[in-house]
């Protein structure tokens, strides 16, 4: 029944590949121009570099203190995700297993903020964070991401806990295990596939997030994130495209690497997050 003739298969293949290449062209241009000297960038953006200019990378890595920024991003993301996963899975477990007036209220209390745009609270959040000492610090940023990540994560976890048979934790409790022990030794391991989904989604979000660090962090390299540093770098080196493109590649590189290794979970996360959200 199906048209399996050779042209019928190859033509869409070629057209789509061509479109894919065109789609990627901006990314390709970014990489090409990050290894060119300034003169060549200005003369011809399209041309391949005459010789590879490592100097751009050495300069930008040193100037923005890339290792430090990378560490900052890593710490903020790790701390943020750790808290989101821990607190949301605990709450999701109880919210799903025990239905009463309190848990119904708590569930709504946790997920209704999904309706609140970040920009609605950003002005006063800055004030709250300053009062609590959460601005201008890496742990402070991580803790704020706990709050921002919880609504979605609680929603996903409490939905997933419902698919785990009650008998599993009930029998553990009957055997005398503590509630905390039952959760961490029995339930939490069973949640690992959905935990991977939550991690994949939240890594992409926190690692790339821009507005919260922009509001909370003022200048110091000790607390700057990668994206924020790239933003201020472009502000300073406005038209020095060879440097700005280098900074872009450096900022994007970790995300691409993460995507390559976590592709399966990211795609799964996007789908389940979207369908449930």
């Amino acid at each position: 029944m199906k048209k399996n003739t050779l042209p019928g298969r190859i033509v869409p293949e070629i057209l789509l590949s061509a479109f894919g290449l065109l789609f990627m062209y901006p990314v390709i241009l970014m990489v090409i121009n990050s290894i060119k000297p300034f003169r060549e960038v200005v003369m011809d953006v399209i041309a391949l570099p005459g010789k590879i200019e490592y100097q751009n990378y050495l300069y930008v890595i040193k100037y923005i203190n890339y290792p430090r920024l990378f560490l900052n991003n890593f710490l903020i993301t790790a701390l943020g995700i750790g808290g989101i996963v821990l607190f949301s899975s605990m709450a999701g477990y109880m919210l799903s297993r025990h239905k009463n007036g309190f848990t119904k209220f708590a569930y709504l209390f946790c997920i209704v903020p999904m309706l609140i745009p970040f920009q609605t609270i950003m002005i006063t959040l800055l004030k709250v964070s300053k009062t609590l000492g959460l601005s201008e610090s890496i742990p402070g940023l991580g803790i704020q991401y706990w709050g921002f990540g919880i609504p979605m994560a609680v929603f996903i976890y409490s939905g997933f806990v419902g698919t785990i048979p009650r008998e599993i934790d009930e029998s553990a409790l009957i055997d005398g295990a503590s509630t905390v022990g039952t959760f961490f030794k029995i339930i939490f391991p069973l949640l690992r596939s959905i935990t991977a989904t939550v991690i994949a989604l939240d890594v992409m979000w926190i690692w790339n997030d821009f507005l919260l660090p922009l509001l909370m962090v003022n200048g110091s390299v000790k607390t700057k994130t990668l994206t924020l540093a790239a933003y201020t770098f472009v502000g300073q080196y406005n038209t020095q495209w060879h440097y700005t493109m280098t900074a872009m590649v450096l900022a994007v590189f970790p995300s691409i690497l993460f995507f390559i290794f976590m592709q399966k979970y990211i795609i799964k996360g996007v789908v389940s997050g979207a369908v449930k959200g």
């Binding site: 869409p12 789509l16 590949s17 894919g20 990627m24 901006p26 990314v27 241009l29 970014m30 960038v41 200005v42 953006v45 399209i46 607190f87 605990m90 709450a91 109880m94 025990h98 848990t103 946790c110 903020p113 309706l115 609140i116 745009p117 970040f118 920009q119 609605t120 609270i121 950003m122 002005i123 006063t124 959040l125 709250v128 609590l132 704020q144 706990w146 921002f148 919880i150 409790l173 005398g176 509630t179 992409m204 790339n208 821009f210 994206t227 790239a230 933003y231 700005t244 493109m245 872009m248 900022a251 994007v252 995300s255 691409i256 995507f259 795609i267 996007v270 789908v271 979207a274 369908v275």
Partner: protein, 295 residues
């Protein structure tokens, strides 16, 4: 019968498991939200110690004497309209092509998804480079007029550029959702259509598309709420220019609060944004529910 040593999760434990989330959400969302409601009724520049209570004057000014806010609402609505249509149509088309058994399907799926994993700020800067420098070179090589146009300097074209870059960045996200939807379609129904002699377009519009309803609604909803909140791409690509023609609502709020230091007035604007987003979400959710009942 309860055996000795049996434990049951007690009420205190339930509360303790949930409490961290309640506190965090309370501090991060509800406290600033309530403070925003308070500050929206004041005039406060963030420097003066005490905000001055001025009642509803911020809100009155918003809708009567602020052409900037009104035009940012118009821009955002226009942007949302074109962004939703183009991103969904292109993403759906790509998804339909990429669920076929192509050799390159997996690579191409990854290719179209890559921009989505990059920060929108970075995406904005890359495209600013393409529009300003890349197009110069392309114009020199091809001689085509479209590369000579001022894609970021002309208000009309800047609008097109913003929509295009936003679609480029997020296309893969919607495509992935559509692919998942297409893969979940019942094979037998589709095959029955082919057996009955339905043409490919007929099959797509009469069977695939209606069956894809849930995925389409999800993508429309997500693209709508995302487009209302558009901020990063505009900041990096046009910074609101040229001549303030690409200020979105969120950008306008950001500028009001952090550049003009009108915190009270900014808070009033931010509440209007909340009412728009929450209103749309609630209406759409209700739509979802009533349809589910019908089915």
């Amino acid at each position: 019968m309860k055996s000795i040593g049996q434990r049951k999760t007690n009420k205190l434990e339930i509360v303790l498991f949930i409490l961290p989330c309640l506190i965090l959400v309370g501090v991060i969302f509800y406290t600033p939200f309530i403070l925003s409601m308070f500050y929206s009724l004041t005039q406060w520049n963030g420097i003066a110690k005490e905000p001055v209570f001025i009642g509803l004057r911020n809100f009155i000014r918003l809708f009567t004497g602020d052409s900037g806010f009104v035009s940012s609402i118009i821009f955002t609505s226009k942007y949302a309209f074109f962004y939703i249509i183009s991103s969904n149509v292109i993403a759906l088309a790509l998804a339909v092509l990429l669920v076929k058994k192509l050799l390159t399907a997996n690579i191409l799926r990854a290719v179209f998804f890559v921009p989505y994993i990059m920060s929108m700020i970075i995406v904005g800067f890359i495209w600013r480079f393409i529009f300003s420098q890349g197009f110069n070179s392309l114009s020199a090589i091809t001689g085509w007029g479209i590369f000579d146009m001022s894609w970021l300097g002309d208000p009309g074209l800047a609008f097109v550029s913003v929509v295009m870059v936003a679609v480029w960045q997020s296309l893969g996200f919607y495509m992935v959702i559509y692919i998942a939807g297409l893969q979940a379609l019942p094979e037998d129904v589709l095959e029955a259509a082919v057996v009955d002699g339905a043409s490919a377009p007929r099959k797509f519009f009469s069977i695939t598309l209606p069956l894809l309803g849930p995925s389409i609604t999800t993508c429309l909803f997500l693209s709508l709420t995302n487009s209302i909140k558009v901020f990063d791409i505009i900041l990096a690509l046009t910074a609101g220019g040229p001549g303030g023609s690409t200020y979105s609502v969120t950008y306008d709020i950001y500028r009001e609060a952090f550049q003009n230091n009108n915190y009270g007035y900014g808070a009033a604007k931010s509440l209007v944004l909340f009412i728009i987003v929450a209103g749309i979400t609630v209406i759409i959710m209700k739509g979802f529910r009533s349809r589910e009942v019908e089915l």
